[in-house]
Symmetry: D2
Subunit: 295 residues, 4 copies
């Protein structure tokens, strides 16, 4: 499927793992099937919501295998890859493509500050290790690496780096980047932006954890935006925004796992020391899901 | 004019002051006249762009007098008030209303962290000192005081606190606030947001430095948004955004003063130790103004 | 007294002000007298602990007059001066010297980021307005202006800028600065450092709020350090450190005002919206004073 | 050796790895031998300076094996362990002890914010997986996890958690922690503190990258501190501090690798995308080594 362009709603999948560290394959397959039947346009295992940072390489590998098999070619699978070292990240990307990933979501982990040339070299190293399209992921909240316009521009020169997933919350900065880069790179919104606005600015879709929980409404919003029905779209977007708030308030992965458990998907708890939602937080999330008619 | 509701484009005026600290009254009057003739809906002296933080009380007072006289009742004047102490801020607000201000832009300065009750007490203290409407100004970049939803909600209970000018760059947070507060408070966008999007979410206009430089285009954008002509509006917004970038890049007040000088308004240099734009920065700003056909 | 070198313990005085904004002159005079009789080597009105940022110019002026009269030449008075604009800060410094201040504590307020040349120009502007010695105050916690080594070095070239009061908590950085600048500038410790260690590195004393509350012990510590009795000094320093912790925990000015009230000085509440200590915080502070035998 | 108490100078070893990712065993062994002969009291592979965050598990394992064999029981080896998940960190600790590590340096990696209970659970999980002593490592600069006094106190209850290595630069906070915890936990200084001062406060030594480069002088400083010869110690400490500055300025691992290369240890370049020191940075480091007579 790697020649297809990516666009639309790509849920960030959670990573269901039991207490012994074993991937809960059945529940992951059934979530994948449910999301595809709900109309999503692609799947993204091993993003932030997928607790990539908490998984061993063996677990990451197994999760992408299960997602790939369950998707069965119906939608593209864009697998997250993240490390601090170029060499190891490139190796992981190569193996993910061998498993069958249609694209790579390239995330840069860091410990020491990395100079701009190092950032460019990291993303280039991943891209050159594979032949499929690569999505660059920026997340200033969790990663100390900041991608300046100059760095994004240099990265966009690499032929198979085709998408940028911007997870800053600063839509003005993103508009500036999009104005500047034009067709050189396509943009997916993250949940920190209001996805509708990124679509209005020319974005091609969004990759986001909440789409696991509200796939149909997310697709509906995408369709309205694509048709330019902005008044209906803004009404729906305002309604859907409540889930983004609990998502940010309750630490992404724990929140989406709690939502899916409430919806009957036995994805289990987040990986310790992450803590599952309980008490008032769980009630808060439940109330939000009810207002969105998904419970 | 104080019974009128505020909406539309309110430029943040610069504060032209000569080297001896004297207000350049003539240039300020002529700028006010030009902006009103360009269609702006109100005027806001003593915001961030107005270098309020660099002025003595005597200078602030004189600036609002000059603006009030030059406006001559054609549009409402919303004067900025800022101090660390409630008592002094309330005194300033009272005097600004006596001069003729139609509204107060209430800005909270701080040195030590202030607990939420203190923040509410500060804004309440200003509002109770006057009878005109009050606009609450939040600016996490320059002020260490953060306004949580709970604090904004408590502030909105004060009868004459009617507007919120949000200067964060996080439009998602603003949507959450607007969803939650509904009609309790009306929202003006700041330049850190994309104003069009704040309008789509139900905002009533924007208060911003760049509107000093591109008043006609700002009014045109506002009119398109008001009529719901979103496709035309987004095209114009994307084009206008370049000025917001130089505005943020070159420290607001120095940037707008440089733009106005280029346009023939002899507003002079920013107040030392702020430095005027020179060399490549000035060229950069000039190039942007040319793309916007205002030079 | 301006030819005398400054060294030793300089308490940051609180600013007792009543609800109508009037300086409580009697209590301020009596505090000054008490501190001098307890052996302190100088007095610093209008530092952070003195709530300088919350006072009008008229209040600041009156406070320095009262302190100057009460000190009656027994110890030097170093008056705080702070503004955003060079012009206004220089004017204040000139007036403070006219009142009788033996030195100026120069504090830089800021709103927009100021480039290094602007920072140097600010401190130079103050120093050139007076003939007395000037102490440069750096405080990265409350002020957005960061003083790099290069900036401090340039400032130290100004003949009457003779002291640096470093209020960062990074003693390693301070050692580096001291190694580099040698005799060009003398260093006072702030309460964020452990004063004894700054003395060991060659510092000449400390300017600090807690010295209002424990003047005798502070002087004792200073004397031990001066004599190089390090073992006794470290034992005393460890014991005294408890007051620095409550000082930082309970917002400096409110904490010292609470301590002094407990000791019988009716300095009153901090300036609203700052809140006085109550309940458990007050009990916490009281317990600390008891362990230090000053209650 | 696990019954021995840890104290003194523990260099953080660099991790020499070639371009193919292979551990340069010979140079690592020879560095270990050199350090032990220079008098250091222990060795710490896989700290920040050891680029632990850039290594695969296989590389980490091999490094500890090589260090353990080269040390040959002459000094204790405290091996770094770090992950985001408790389960994986505990597994690594267990394997490190099986290789022969005399202690574990427990580092907490994180991506999402972890609540205090999670932090305690993480360190407890590591400690319960081994029988050797555990050193808790805090580093607010590189890790988003902050250890409050309450958290440290709870962690110190675990029987084999015996040491705290504090890498904040705030010596005042550390004094407060030490005053509060007393004998419950022993403290090693990191390079962000001035080690001598941590010794004066009751610390037992320091774990630090620069000790790879100046082992003899570090041991000399430790001996002076132990004997309470404070005047000689402060003179030496001031002289040695220059290396700490370049260490912080030039990104720890790249700096120490550059220093060791200059000293003739062919440890190679840091792991990409980290960049080796070149040009003026390298000259700067070289000049510092010359002033310390180690070149």
């Amino acid at each position: 499927m790697s020649n297809k362009e990516f666009s639309g709603v790509f849920p960030y999948l959670v990573s269901p793992v039991d207490e012994q560290g074993k991937v809960k394959e059945k529940v992951l397959s059934s979530l994948v099937d449910h999301l595809i039947k709900s109309g999503v346009h692609g799947l993204t295992p091993l993003g932030s919501t997928g607790e990539f940072a908490y998984l061993t390489w063996t677990q990451r590998q197994r999760i992408v295998e299960v997602v790939f098999e369950a998707a069965a070619g119906r939608v593209p699978v864009v697998a997250g890859v993240s490390h601090t070292s170029i060499r190891e990240a490139a190796r992981q990307a190569r193996e993910m493509e061998a498993i069958g990933a249609d694209g790579i979501l390239a995330i840069m982990d860091s410990y020491f500050p990395v100079p701009p040339e190092g950032v460019v070299a990291y993303f280039r190293g991943i891209a050159e290790a594979v032949s499929c399209p690569v999505v660059i992921y920026t997340n200033p909240s969790f990663s100390s690496t900041n991608l300046s316009l100059e760095v994004i521009e240099a990265i966009a020169e690499v032929p198979n780096i085709k998408y940028l997933k911007d997870a800053s919350a600063n839509t003005g900065n993103l508009l500036f980047t999009m104005n500047h880069l034009g067709d050189k790179i396509k943009v997916f919104s993250a949940s920190a932006h209001i996805p509708l606005f990124v679509m209005m600015l020319g974005g091609v879709g969004w990759m986001a954890g909440p789409a696991c929980v509200i796939p149909r409404q997310s697709v509906e919003l995408y369709e309205l935006a694509k048709k330019g029905q902005w008044d209906e779209a803004i009404t729906l977007q305002k309604r859907l925004w409540t889930i983004n708030r609990v998502f940010q308030k309750y630490a992404l992965a724990p929140c989406i796992k709690a939502c899916l458990e409430l919806q009957g998907f036995e994805v289990g708890a987040p990986i310790p020391p992450l803590q599952p939602l309980t008490g008032p937080a769980l009630k808060d999330v439940e109330a939000v899901l009810k207002t969105l008619d998904v419970l």
